[in-house]
């Protein structure tokens, strides 16, 4: 995806057009490119779907035979878990694989994985939180160390590690490769979480919809509300990831641009003082994040950085 290059080109053009003005301008065309319409549509769909799910879940659907009104958390907890485990972490693992595969290697996949993991971590934490708030009244305990709960908690820690790794400053390609490996290793836990209720005797009940027989054991309006919950959460996920992806892309762009500005200033200085245009990486006029972004990646030539 050439989003960065697009933005970069527009930004550079804008810089030239507005000489004297250091900041370029977002025109309407760029604005449209930054925020495609489908993102907004998905966001609205997610919001409406979620509202409908809550209304149906809390006030319209009937209570359950054994759980009574406690069943109502079924319309939130499984959809949230679905987003975290399968959509978010699945997408992250897939994009990481596609990044590592030489033929499809592109920073697009790296950014998509990063966006997806961050959203996934939020949903994973929510899975645990809603699960605990459901477990206390139904099982009688907030938490217990059965295989499903333990492996889900481990999953959260694994992907928190991914986010920590991502915050370490490095050249984009270096960071992408590191993080891709971490994401794939962490994803190994997802099938364990999914099948834990099948492989072992756990306190957590088995799957209602994605059970081994693939025959949902939930009926009537409860089933439809649950389906709506899944769809709504999926839409919310798509919206969040697309926004998070844009933030990631623009953040990279900001680093590149500050590097370009720093270099331009440096050259201007050199030309003014008449010295040979040299560039030491430790030079004082170059900001720290720029130095750390170039360090350790010998292939990232200065010409390439400046474009």
């Amino acid at each position: 995806m050439s989003m960065t290059e697009e933005v970069s080109a527009v930004a550079m053009k804008a810089m030239k057009d507005h000489q004297g003005e250091p900041r370029p301008v977002i025109d309407d065309e760029l604005h449209r490119r930054l925020r495609p319409r489908w993102v907004r549509v998905t966001g609205v769909a997610g919001l409406l779907g979620l509202t409908a799910t809550v209304v149906l879940g809390l006030w319209v659907t009937p209570p359950d035979e054994t759980q009574g009104n406690l069943v109502r958390l079924v319309y939130l907890h499984p959809p949230v878990a679905w987003v975290a485990l399968y959509l978010a972490f699945g997408l992250a693992a897939l994009s990481s694989l596609l990044y590592l595969w030489r033929r499809t290697r592109s920073l697009f996949w790296d950014r998509l994985a990063a966006a997806s993991v961050e959203v996934g971590v939020v949903f994973n934490a929510l899975t645990l939180a809603t699960g605990m708030l459901w477990g206390r009244p139904t099982w009688g305990v907030w938490w217990t160390w059965d295989a499903r709960l333990t492996s889900t908690a481990l999953l959260l820690v694994l992907f928190l590690g991914y986010l920590a790794l991502r915050r370490v400053p490095a050249a984009p390609e270096v960071r992408a490769r590191r993080c891709a490996v971490a994401a794939i290793v962490a994803f190994v836990d997802v099938p364990i979480v999914h099948f834990s209720v099948v492989w072992w005797q756990t306190l957590h009940q088995g799957a209602t919809v994605l059970n081994p027989d693939l025959s949902p054991t939930i009926h009537g309006s409860m089933a439809w509300t649950l389906l709506l919950g899944f769809l709504a959460m999926t839409a919310v996920f798509v919206w969040m990831v697309s926004i998070r992806y844009r933030i990631e892309t623009l953040a990279d762009e900001a680093v590149t641009r500050s590097l370009a500005t720093a270099l331009a200033e440096r050259w201007a200085e050199d030309e003014a003082s008449g010295t040979a245009p040299t560039f030491g990486l430790g030079a004082s006029s170059v900001p720290e994040e720029v130095v750390s972004a170039t360090r350790g990646d010998p292939q990232m030539s200065v010409g390439e950085i400046v474009r």
Partner: protein, 222 residues
């Protein structure tokens, strides 16, 4: 590949023999952990003995993180990484060599730690061979996973804080299985121990296999 592994392992162990970082820092740390566990649990021998297998592996895990730090630090000297890259050594060989060096140091540490536990906690193990087999497999798994993540966080200034966060969750199954085998071995319940032992084998193998493939790219990238 194996010849390269032999070379690298020999080099790492020779560096350790000269610098004695593991001997004078990692090992005392592990023993200190034992004493601290005893403080935390109180002097009751029955409590200590029942908790001993788990505590033993927690101590090994934390010492293992230190050993991996040390193993990575060897590479992070001026130009060492580039030297390795240019040396023509097979990255997979480098990985296996470094993992072997870490595993050997950990094995030595486990022996001393075990003696300490016997004396301080009064623990005995009935099924010795079960415990030794579990320790061997778990140590290989820990070393392999540690070296992979060591390379991942290799050139980073934040390595000290990042490495434990990344590697400890990944080796959690090893800790779980090894502790259970040792608990079973302590009371002589061979059957229960063996079912856990069967988990340790595949884990060690998987970490080794993954390391053989990803170490090269990580070395280039770092």
């Amino acid at each position: 590949m194996l010849r390269d592994a032999w070379l690298v392992a020999g080099r790492d162990l020779r560096i350790e023999a000269r610098s004695r970082v593991a001997l004078w820092q990692v090992l005392p740390f592990a023993l200190l952990a034992l004493v601290l566990f005893a403080f935390a649990l109180g002097p009751d021998r029955a409590t200590l003995a029942s908790a001993a297998p788990g505590l033993f592996w927690v101590a090994v895990l934390f010492s293992g993180v230190l050993a991996v730090h040390r193993s990575v630090a060897i590479e992070s000297g001026e130009g060492t990484r580039d030297g390795l890259r240019l040396s023509g050594l097979d990255p997979a060989g480098i990985f296996l060599g470094k993992a072997a060096a870490v595993a050997l140091q950990l094995a030595a540490l486990e022996v001393v730690l075990w003696l300490g536990m016997r004396v301080l906690f009064g623990v005995t193990i009935r099924a010795i061979w079960l415990a030794v087999a579990a320790a061997a497999l778990a140590t290989i798994g820990l070393a392999a996973a540690g070296v992979i993540y060591g390379a991942l966080s290799g050139g980073l200034r934040v390595r000290e804080t990042l490495l434990p966060l990344l590697v400890l969750p990944v080796v959690a199954p090893v800790l779980l299985a090894a502790s259970r085998v040792w608990s079973a071995a302590a009371v002589g319940a061979v059957g229960a121990g063996e079912s856990w032992l069967r988990i340790l084998g595949p884990f060690a193998l998987v970490y080794l296999a993954v390391g053989v493939v990803v170490y090269g790219p990580l070395l280039e990238a770092g």
